[in-house]
Subunit: 414 residues, 2 copies
Amino acid sequence: MTVDKLKALELHRKARGKIRNYPTINVRNEDDMAMVYVPGSVFPAREIIADKANVYEYTGKKNRLAVITDGSATLGLGNIGPHASLPVMEGKCLLFKTLADINAFPICLDSQDVNDIIHAVQLIAPSFGAINIEDVAAPNTFTAVRELNKHLDIPVVSDDQHGTAVMILAALWSALDVTGKKLEDVKIVILGAGAAGIATSELLLHVGARNIIAINRSGILGPDNQKMNHYQEELSTRINPEGIRGALDEAIQGADVFIGFSINGRLTQDQVKKMNGKAIVFALARPEPEIMPEEAIAAGAAIAGSSLFDSINPLPNLLSYPGICRGLLDVRATGLNRNILASAAEALKKTVDGMRLCETHILPDLFSDEVTPRMAEVVAQKTIEEGLAIIRPPKGQVYDETWQRLFGGPMTRL
Amino acid sequence: MTVDKLKALELHRKARGKIRNYPTINVRNEDDMAMVYVPGSVFPAREIIADKANVYEYTGKKNRLAVITDGSATLGLGNIGPHASLPVMEGKCLLFKTLADINAFPICLDSQDVNDIIHAVQLIAPSFGAINIEDVAAPNTFTAVRELNKHLDIPVVSDDQHGTAVMILAALWSALDVTGKKLEDVKIVILGAGAAGIATSELLLHVGARNIIAINRSGILGPDNQKMNHYQEELSTRINPEGIRGALDEAIQGADVFIGFSINGRLTQDQVKKMNGKAIVFALARPEPEIMPEEAIAAGAAIAGSSLFDSINPLPNLLSYPGICRGLLDVRATGLNRNILASAAEALKKTVDGMRLCETHILPDLFSDEVTPRMAEVVAQKTIEEGLAIIRPPKGQVYDETWQRLFGGPMTRL
């Protein structure tokens, strides 16, 4: 999808920021001011002093998410630092608002030290109901997300990790349905072992995949690979059961599924021809995929998708993270785990109408109105089941819309 | 001004946050998304990589301000921590929007260590055009504001310090006009040497006051006082030229001006009677003033004002900080100094119509439409004069509305 440079610049200049504040209460005079500021704010403040959970009841915390980056791995541009990342983060905040009605704030950090990232997020967390770690390079992104999810009382999501993994799992389940294969039987090659590659491997393992081969710049993850970070090393002991050695050429032989998070042109038609019958090819390199879906199909793949919005089977993680975050915020989640992510993928997969499911339709349309609410509902329900939701509304009060949806009526008392 | 507790709680609950995000661009389909997110955001990102100042051109940084607190000295409530401070900070953000069209974000920090406060603000600064330090207890508030103004390339304002000092100076200039006295001749007693007391003393000294006596809980600041923090000690060497010893009783004798930032009831009518003729009494203790203005008048004061919105001469710093911050943002300020604050006070004083200036009208009405734009214009102009503004717009492009106002026409090139 091409965009005219001057048009894009002009649009950004005129917008003066892609999101802006909007007051929810009119302040016209001293009486209004007394109500919204002082002494009016003192009453909710006292309720929160009495019970910290009331912060969800009387403030915007419950619908506020911080989009955090250090600008170290900004989409398609690499390490560009915090200032240049701001237009991208504001774009993400705009999408959170448009697709999931979440008030997302762009926070671009002036440090790429992982301890600073963790410290900054810990410090600012009280204002937010959830955190989205965005475009932070691996392995820092893993360290930040793991440490923060350990220590914070709000969920820390990474769209590059969780969003992508959930979208891929949904697309893969659909594609396996269409080709009549089963996740536990297929051989999956994942090219690229950064944030998306590792998170996808982990989620696929979690839901039953048994034969994954992951590859980084030095080759297949395993005992022979001399350049693995801590997370790749840890993963390498749980994958590649056949002990295949080498790089993509060796791995792709007889594979059922290729998932690429690498660089354009990295998968050749010859390599696709070496794959099993009814092969599935997901080429997610940006800005251009490892192989164009049409080329993969021509080389014998049954199903192909890519990072391109205007190709067949576009595979945007934008399909998943708004619904995941909406659901987490709706039940005031205190954390996030892989069971929740798996249920999100299942919900996403189910939004594809069974009558339309086919080789060229494995995910819902990007702007389908159904995706976010359906995923949010499932994520909310699962978060409660996993014991990661604050489900203790003040007595006698209706919780919120999601609560009503989930429990079929207004909350009275627990 | 009294507020009904249940009404205030209900309002806060229904508002779900007193500010929310609003999208400035409609995203309806894949084309829109490509424009606002990827690849559309890549073009402004590249312009910012080429010249960091372009971040003001293509993002919302120029109109975005962080309201930062650690919840250690929250208005009328004391040390209540970050969560309970959130309704108050959201109220402040709402007022910034309503009064100055600034997109203010509430950031409540999960630490009261001044190094953490400074570190957090440094880390998140790239997203913002200005910082407002709010309700942080002294002396941390001074340390944070001074250190941050030294190291950041955006201005760091404190409404408790700068906002209050500017409002007091404007009110005092008006009151001195009415009573026919001059700032350099009057004896000024400041009761309370926290954020507001010290900042007000400093600004008054800066514009020519010669005889200030400041008092903390242990008495008059000076060599006898055994309980002064670093900032009080530093100030004590530059005030109290008569070397008066003791506490309020000793200080108030023959004083022309009383300014209180202490606790209700601390100034008695007997003490007012000891003041000079045509005395000026500003009682800003909250939630109740040191003396009710009517009582001060009855005891002989010529002019009295207080922290109460519904008394005569209400003295809210809300009159000053929206205009100060609006002006700083309009010229993309890189810092803040006392000359700028003094010019802001002068502008605020001038918004009082000369025909209406009298004992009971020394400041403009709180919701006067003129205050913020007039102050913003003067602050913007002064910031440029002081060399603390980025006045280098991209060639051939109009800067923004303020630029046009200041320079009488569209910018062409410098």
